[in-house]
Symmetry: C2
Subunit: 245 residues, 2 copies
């Protein structure tokens, strides 16, 4: 599948991934770029049924977790690097906000390199965003030590569906040549028009008894109250395991 | 180039990127996964010489910035989405720590999808990590409004070098099956042995008059003092433009 025609795949055949395919995917992640070649990430591979069952409720029971051939939880990890520094009488210099950000980015680069490699092999992938809501609980389930935080979850399997291409905002809405050009109200209305007029999205607005799609997003799907609650939990976990904020 | 044989390319031919190739790359980023299809990122394309020259010192004059055909600065962006919410009487629910993290991840997924697409087309790429050190200054140079933070910088061009494959830690050091298995001192020594014995790295240790490679990393390349200073700056910028911490 071409990278501009790709689809997220949420339904998988019940078929294990051969070890060489899995290792090709893992290697593609490891070969991706990372800050200073410090490789501040770890990849947790979940394949056993009972462990997928244990992760599923932590991902709000999204069915991809149990149905995928493999679930990868990619974590930022300063534990390994700090350990190396410690036994070499070197400073442990990474437990700070800068490296929380850098290691988050590196874990994500690694993940997306694995996603592309999986798709290159004809597999389907789905990111599971709940990992950021439930970071602490997932860390406990995977026995993560201090300094290791789940960043992304990627489910991989053989596609058992053939979904239509998902809508996206038009390219000119997302790309700025040379300088950022801020949007007028008119620009915004134009950018979101197609998405707002999609019958599926219109149905969401009606079902939820709201005025428009923006309200569906910010009042139902990603409400301020939920975002603030999960922010608080994520902050507490970061402070416990990584650094002061 | 296969995803497990890829090399970062830092030297480029002086050759512009055709618009259709650039758009293929941008589209690959836009087609990548993102949280709730909210597309909380913007891509700033720098191609004009004078604008590359203006970015270069903000990236500590790393030569890739001026020499690449295109420099992409991928930013997390809640400005566009908030604007949509505002004109639709919907809550602005994203200016919090959870979505700082989620939008950082989504901007990075988009970037790495573009990196893979560029390599698929025979181009070379290099990430420029200084973007996280100089986020505020780069935001000013690119006219970013509030709610928009540079996350990654990717330089792209036609390769003008053919470097050897970079060293990486062994796969078993980075991958944990089912549960995280913490490292013993012996594990750590084994994991880092090849990197420590690489003659180039041994030379770094000697040049810097240090005892070992871990000290080169944590005392010279990524010192605690620098990391704390740049953490402070990044935190201040996040508080100014995005959310309380």
């Amino acid at each position: 599948m071409n990278s501009i025609d790709r689809r997220t795949i949420r339904k998988y055949k019940q078929q294990p991934l051969p070890q060489d395919t899995l290792e090709f995917i893992l290697n593609s992640g490891i070969r991706a770029s990372n800050c200073g070649n410090m490789q501040l990430y770890s990849i947790i591979v979940t394949q056993e049924e009972e462990n997928k069952k244990c992760l599923a409720p932590l991902h709000f029971n999204q069915p991809m977790v149990e149905n995928a051939s493999v679930v990868l939880t990619v974590c930022l990890d300063v534990n390994r690097f700090n350990h190396w520094c410690r036994i070499n009488s070197a400073d442990e210099s990474l437990n700070n906000f800068l490296f929380l950000n850098i290691a988050t980015i590196d874990a994500t680069i690694c993940t997306q390199a694995m996603a592309s490699a999986a798709e290159e092999k004809g597999l389907g992938i789905c990111y599971i965003g709940t990992v950021n809501y439930m970071a602490k609980e997932i860390a406990q389930a995977l026995n993560l030590p201090k300094g290791v935080i789940p960043v992304t979850t990627l489910t991989i399997g053989y596609p058992n569906e053939n979904p239509a291409l998902t809508e996206r905002l038009p390219m000119q809405a997302l790309v700025h040549y040379e300088k950022y050009k801020d949007y007028t109200d008119e620009d915004i209305n134009k950018i979101y028009k197609d998405i707002e007029e999609n019958p599926v999205n219109k149905a969401f607005v009606k079902e939820n008894n709201l005025d428009n799609l923006a309200q569906v997003f910010s009042q139902v799907r990603y409400s301020k109250k939920d975002a603030e609650q999960f922010s608080k939990l994520y902050k507490e976990f970061v402070k416990e395991t990584f650094c002061e904020l």
